[in-house]
Point group: C2
Chain length 327, copies 2
């Protein structure tokens, strides 16, 4: 049984049958557009991410359920990075001829499961053949009270810099895969099925505990660079303070250059934000409440640029910059 035997509308119907109705969806899958409603007075947040086979993933390394979850989570992470609430999801699917129905079903199951987990509903999209590999284009729409929207541009000199979770785990997994080794099992999920820090982003916005916020998709160095550029300031980061998982720390002790992965490896999908020092106790309480480490890794300074300082005070010049799709 090949995917082609379902036909385009058969595939759409196969998806539609699994999506439950929702009060905020006036017109769902199966019309020219979906028609949805936002809470009155809220602004619309929109983010799009492409996931292209051989660029963002390899079929040999991932399972389709996890890939579906990841395609949703990387977009939800962007909604989280504005402090918003996810609402709807539009899915563009380019399907290669050799994709089998079981893999298609697993992919859709992953997308629908993750969407539901984060409170979003699949409301429409487009499905067609792809001449090369599998490609997914996910657009997630969310909303936020206008006064709670958290941008990259609000960091001020004297603010502390915080990051959630641990850094470099996803990049370490990818490094192992690329070199043909088996990644540490306890870290594999950080790369294949990352968690968007949605609740954290929302609490930072609602409790006014951040002046600027971004999610870490291109690596700490590049994404912090975006905050610095947008805010027109600099930052000092203490390398010794970077939050690392036990597995990553063990690997780092053997191979010190792995620090580059924590500083510049991509796909952490943690949040990075600046906050005034007065917010520190509230952030400590929030970390406890969420069961998620929230770590101060440095501070915002007037001197332009990013200064990463080792424990001995020496400034580290990392040779690796954030992931650039065209470098």
């Amino acid at each position: 049984m090949s995917l082609g035997s379902y036909g385009e509308f058969g595939l759409i119907e196969r998806i539609r049958a699994q999506v439950a109705g929702r009060d905020d969806v006036l017109v769902g899958i199966g019309d020219d557009c979906c028609a949805t409603m936002l809470p009155p007075g809220e602004v619309l947040l929109t983010t799009t991410d492409l996931l292209i086979e051989e660029i963002h993933f390899r079929r040999a390394w991932t399972d389709f359920f996890a890939l579906g979850c990841k395609a949703v989570a990387v977009n939800i992470s962007d909604i989280a990075a504005m402090g918003g609430t996810p609402r709807t999801l539009s899915l563009g699917l380019g399907l290669p001829a050799d994709l089998c129905p079981e893999d298609f079903d697993q992919l859709i199951a992953g997308i629908l499961t993750a969407a539901q987990e984060y409170g979003a509903v699949l409301s429409g999209g487009d499905t067609c053949r792809s001449p090369a590999g599998l490609l997914l284009s996910v657009t997630v729409q969310g909303s936020s009270k206008p006064e709670e929207v958290l941008r990259r541009s609000g960091a001020r000199v004297g603010d502390l810099l915080y990051v959630s979770g641990t850094l470099g785990d996803s990049a370490l997994v990818l490094r192992e895969l690329l070199t043909g080794r088996t990644p540490p099992a306890e870290l594999a999920g950080r790369h294949h099925q990352p968690t968007a820090r949605l609740r954290l982003g929302q609490e930072l916005a609602q409790r006014r505990l951040a002046t600027a916020l971004i999610d870490l998709s291109d690596g700490l160095r590049a994404d912090l660079g975006h905050i610095l550029t947008a805010s027109g300031i600099g930052a000092r980061v203490d390398a010794a303070s970077l939050p690392l998982s036990p597995t990553f720390r063990t690997a780092l002790a053997i191979e010190p250059s792995l620090l580059d992965l924590a500083l510049a490896g991509g796909e952490d999908y943690e949040l990075l934000w600046s906050a005034p020092p007065v917010a520190a106790p509230a952030l400590a309480a929030l970390g406890t409440e969420l069961g998620l480490p929230l770590t101060c890794i440095g501070e915002i300074v007037a001197a332009a640029g990013l200064h990463v300082v080792a424990a001995d005070g020496e400034e580290i010049i990392s040779s690796k910059v954030g992931y650039n799709h065209f470098s």
Copy 2:
């Protein structure tokens, strides 16, 4: 000079620099999400279309400016088919390594020109490498008063069926291209740079002149089929009444089987709708006002299915169905 030398953020900046601010865009290109505002009380309309090289277009046949315009127009056509007003556009771009900066710039110029023409603004997206050909994923967001949203499901027995413009021109151009001939110059634009019937869709909604509405992307037969399925009724179409351009009509006289292209060829991007007979005078006036032929091609009947009838009363069985991406 290669596109890669700009880098991912250089390309985004190259686009961002060309996009003017707008009152309804709180946060535009260059943050985790864009944040935009809809008119109070209106519902959000969303549509996504993928355009994939070798599936939807061939680089040898098109110019990049026209391709950019088309990528926008095919989405605007979906907003028109709900009776809505376009607002914002999110652009996913997968760029092959061999794309040159001049072609990239032309593509973006086409996208921005068409967006402006239809009243939408580019507010965000994603840019990455593509291992195979060029791919575009365009999501257009619009809005509508909830009571004016026009669905596919409202057609009633006794309604007349109307279509705008002329049918089959785009499919005729494609047929000529596929067979290695030069398409008629006066029709080429119908395929390469189609016009979305936005104003028509809006007037149909605001003047309450349609009970069901769809845009013709997959061909009359398939798209009318969507209305019939959604509305749970049938239709009789008079083949002799199909609106055809002079060029198409000349070709049809020589090659009668071209009628299939008018009945089932894709990418007309005209609107198809049902309306009660009492709306006929108002529709005639609207056609004059818009300078666009609005032609009655048949009627909605109780008998299920689509019945296309020739001038002599014989029922035509077209061998060609609407375009199915997986057939």
